[in-house]
């Protein structure tokens, strides 16, 4: 039987090499096959803007984009991001802040700030899919992101304000 149909040839209990692009920079790393993306980002690559909270996909603090799709980095394993492009909060904006970050600053879209990077990644994903979201759309898009300060009013206002600005209302 041919069982050579492997792309990732890692012996059991050994590290594997994966290649991923993080915020536009191509990186090779050695890791365990099932290591969590959030640990790779924070511990190996020092992208600590991606936060850890629940670790089981319920709070959204670790939200990042993989190939422009929102994911919980605590629920993505190393082998699953081989060859993928990751965008973290550090990858938004450039010399200045991103427009979503600007909206959060202007409208008071954060309190303690722990959930903010995850919220902002979720909003980036929402506005890419739906540039003119209703309040219901915003709540649905942020359903997986928990603000323990309960500052949802400011967060929703930030999204509404930015969307209105972008579509010229």
């Amino acid at each position: 039987m041919d069982i050579n149909n492997k792309v990732l040839d890692n012996p059991i209990d050994a590290l594997m090499t994966i290649t991923l692009t993080v915020n536009g920079e191509k990186i090779d790393i050695q890791t365990a096959s099932t290591e969590k993306l959030v640990n790779i980002l924070r511990e190996q690559l020092n992208f600590v803007g991606t936060k850890i909270s629940c670790g089981i996909g319920r709070c959204g603090a670790c939200s990042v984009l993989i190939d422009n799709e929102l994911v919980n980095a605590c629920f993505v394993m190393a082998y699953q991001v081989n060859g993928k492009s990751i965008t973290t909060i550090e990858g938004l904006g450039g010399v200045t802040v991103d427009e979503v970050q600007e909206a959060f600053l202007t409208e008071g879209g954060f309190q303690c700030g722990y959930c903010t990077s995850g919220m902002i990644m979720a909003v980036k994903y929402l506005l890419a899919l739906n540039p003119n979201p209703s309040e219901s759309d915003i709540k649905e898009a942020l359903a997986g992101n928990l603000c323990r300060c309960t500052g949802y009013g400011g967060i929703i206002r930030s999204v509404q304000s930015l969307a209105a600005k972008k579509i010229g209302i």
Binding site: M1, D2, I3, N5, K6, V7, L8, N10, P11, I12, D13, A14, L15, M16, A32, S33, T34, E35, K36, V38, N39, R42, E43, I52, G55, I56, G57, R58, G60, C62, S63, E69, L70, V71, N72, C74, F75, V76, M77, Y79, Q80, A122, Y125, L129, E140, A141, A143, G144, N145, L146
Partner: protein, 292 residues
Amino acid sequence: MSNQVDTLSAESPVILMPTSIEKAVELKSHYGLNGEFVSGATLLQLQWLNGRKTPEQIISLEQLTELKSIQFDQHKGELSIGALTPLGSYQTHKILKEFPIICTALKSIAAPGIRNRGTIGGNIMGRVGDLIPFLSALSAKLVFQDVKGVKQIEIWDWFQQTSNSDFLLSHILIPLDRDMLESHTFYRKVGRRETFTAAILTVSGKIKWDEEGKIINAKLAVGGGDNKPMRLEKTEQLIIGRNAIHLDWKTIFSTVAEEFVAAEDAFVSSSYRKKVAANLIVAELQSQFAKE
């Protein structure tokens, strides 16, 4: 205090990435219980963290793009959904968008970040997903493949069988024919939070009646969260053949509550879940038959 998310196991599984269904089932046949089919792994990772044995070989299905296709056969009135279709596809896939009841069901599962990773097939094969009662009510069929070939089975018949993980779920076939259009179909989910937490319960049904108001077909199912998915066959028998104007709502309520084997935990009692399920089903029936 550790500043890391828990890793799954001291040992890292070997990752196998077959590029064809045939190769995937061959690998599964070779490795048996030491190999596990894995795609998004949202539910699986939770289960592994909760003590389920992590496989020695992960047979990743992520390269099987043929299992992500969605097609509607107008002639047969059948929607075919590839098992690896992400739960979040309802947002962007033009065929899925044409079927609001399917979008409603998919949208109710977890939250956007999880729906982009979790698959429709994974929700079914985990044997606890919200889609099982929904697809049971719709009489959906599952298409499985192993090294011996392909087989089709109605989802409710499959669910009642002993789990056989050697089979790879390739497609879900949903009849969306004339019968569907002439029926009242519903899906309702109750939970604590609209995110990746277990539902309190999910109910679903498909009811058809004739021109005189006699109910000629009924499929009712319940599940979600820790509730084992089940068809409410006693309630179905109670209403089939009855004229809608003669439905006894109290008897329907008590029959649902009696036959639903509801889970119980520290937060939600079994009797509460029974009451909620009965209320939802009676409300759905009344929405069609108690207008006057």
